[in-house]
Symmetry: C2
């Protein structure tokens, strides 16, 4: 069940920032507006928008406009693909069970 292969460098760069990982954690299982994320992170709104754009470009968040707001949520499937690809490339002898 192979999908389109992930660019592991782009994937790693996208998640290689503390602020971005905070944002990712916050909107992992929720659909949140930009302002919601601003409130929960104490990061300025332009900074949040900037990080969301990076995550979006990497395919790691989905977004939809609802009226004035734009709601974002983490694309867990794509996250899983990225992790898989990294593990396949760099841990081929250590296949790993991610299920808890």
């Amino acid at each position: 069940m192979k999908q389109k292969p992930v660019d592991t460098v782009e994937f790693a760069k996208a998640i290689a920032d503390e602020t971005r990982q905070k944002i990712m954690a916050i909107c992992c299982c929720e659909l949140l507006s930009v302002n919601d994320i601003v409130d929960k992170t104490n990061v300025a709104q332009p900074t949040v928008s900037h990080h969301l754009k990076i995550l979006k470009t990497a395919g790691l968040v989905r977004s939809e406009r609802h009226g004035k707001q734009v709601l974002y949520t983490l694309n867990q499937e794509r996250m899983a693909e990225g992790c898989c690809q990294v593990a396949e490339n760099f841990a081929p002898e250590h296949p790993v069970e991610l299920v808890d």
Copy 2:
């Protein structure tokens, strides 16, 4: 079977570079000297040493001195841990089978 938890930001930063991923791929399943890596990457020796240090600090390579040479190899187990931790944090609803 939980080990010491991985700092996912440090992990992501360590692998978030094209040159480093080249090095990681090259010494994934082999024990290579710094010069071997230099030859296979066309990257200057100080640059290779620099990247190896970053990977070492993150625990992603092991090294042992053999005479004049220092041999490096990717720590696949730690790579797998890093991938697991990222997936657990950011793809909790998408448990993933990494086994081919």
